[in-house]
């Protein structure tokens, strides 16, 4: 004998009305249509492209719509080495993106400067833009990128989107200095 449990929306009981929390609905919508802005600056961008291909298929998570215009994108994936000369461009594109927006630092270079400990490389993109998810690896495999994006989805789920419409989040500074 099988038993069924009714939960969620039941059209017989509720007709065409759904009762939920605004936060839940908004976050549900946002979570499943994160359009990435591919900030591909170096070798990591190749793995980012692989994640977009059919083998790894980022479109399973509603993220296949890579937008090369910051106006139409929600999540900047910084994939690659950010030089100081490029840093201003990254920040400007971040500023041009409409709220709500998220940033994923993909790979060692974007997270910390990676192996480029030198005068020309920005030591972590979190110095100029607020980062939500850091992905380790040099380069991270596409699975790692997908895992990072799923964690971003989890993070979006817990956000209070009705209360904080505009989020002015701070950037970090270098904390890891030689003692």
């Amino acid at each position: 004998m099988t038993t069924t449990t009714e939960y969620g929306y039941n059209s017989k009981v509720e007709g065409e009305v759904i009762v939920s929390k605004a936060d839940a609905v908004i976050n549900w919508v946002r979570r499943h249509s994160v359009w990435p802005m591919p900030m591909g600056l170096a070798c990591c961008a190749i793995e980012l492209m692989a994640a977009g291909g059919s083998r790894f298929d980022i479109s399973r998570f509603g993220m296949e719509v890579m937008r090369f215009s910051p106006r139409q994108s929600d999540c900047m994936i910084v994939a690659g080495t950010v030089t100081y000369k490029m840093a201003q461009v990254v920040r400007r594109i971040y500023d041009q993106m409409a709220e709500p927006k998220w940033v994923v630092a993909m790979g060692a270079c974007a997270s910390t400067g990676g192996m480029y400990r030198s005068y020309a490389t920005l030591q972590g993109v979190d110095r100029i833009v607020p980062v939500d998810v850091y992905i380790s690896g040099c380069p991270p495999r596409p699975e790692a990128l997908l895992d990072g994006m799923m964690r971003l989805q989890d993070k979006i789920k817990t956000e209070s989107s009705t209360r904080t419409l505009l989020r002015n989040r701070p950037v970090r500074d270098l904390t890891f200095q030689k003692k």
Binding site: Y84, K85, A87, Q88, R91, R92, D95, G113, Y116, R117, S118, Y119, A120, T121, Q123, R127, I128, V171, D173, L174, F176, Q177, K178, K179
Partner: protein
């Protein structure tokens, strides 16, 4: 090569591991390169770079790597570049157009002023960067300067900081068992390597201490 030396008696042979190389005084440089290009068939400037000798006089040297596409031969010409901190050298853009960007790079990295260059701007670092990073006195980690863009400065309130070197530069030890060599920080005195039990083994010494020991 004999014919070149006969035609240009002021050239002095220079130490080289592969192809012939000559030192050329700077006042004869343009004559020399022009004749090499027109009469000796070195029609291609493969590379142009500079050397910083730091405490030698003259401090800088500009090096031209020439190639003959007919005879498939390389030739290296080096010329001393007086003047510190502002060395000057004649530009060879009239001879080889490819020298344009090479000279911009040498200017960017070493601060060598190429007189007669059509457009001598920085090519790798941003305009207005106050240093020349490949000079010997410039640290690899960099120096603190302002961000290149005013908007970025305002938005973040940050500056370009020296990169934390974490005891680097990193390189593999030149001695010890090959199987155990791996890139290590030169100076590991600041990190947890001190606490490792096997630090006494020679193979596990940081590269700097190993060097001091030998």
């Amino acid at each position: 090569m004999k014919t070149i030396l006969e035609a240009h008696p002021y050239l002095i042979e220079r130490e080289s591991a592969d192809w012939p190389a000559f030192n050329c005084p700077q006042d004869r440089l343009m004559d020399c390169l022009q004749s090499l290009q027109e009469e000796h068939g070195f029609d291609f400037l493969a590379d142009l770079t500079a050397i910083d000798h730091f405490d030698a006089q003259p401090r800088f040297e500009v090096v031209y790597q020439l190639f003959s596409t007919e005879r498939h031969e390389y030739l290296r010409i080096a010329t001393p570049c007086g003047g510190d901190p502002d060395p000057v050298c004649p530009s060879v853009v009239p001879l080889w157009k490819t020298a344009n960007w090479h000279e911009r790079e040498a200017y960017d990295m070493f601060g060598i002023e190429f007189s007669g260059h059509p457009d001598l701007r920085r090519i790798l670092m941003w305009d207005g960067y106050p240093y020349h990073p490949l000079r010997k006195e410039f640290p690899l980690a960099g120096k603190e300067v302002e961000f290149p863009d005013e908007g970025l400065r305002e938005a973040t309130g940050k500056t370009v900081l020296p990169a934390p070197m974490m005891g680097g530069p990193f390189h593999a030890s030149q001695t010890g068992s090959m199987a155990k060599r791996e890139p290590r920080a030169d100076d590991e005195s600041w990190n947890e390597a001190r606490d490792r039990a096997d630090i006494q083994d020679e193979e596990n010494l940081p590269p700097r201490e190993l060097r001091d020991k030998h």
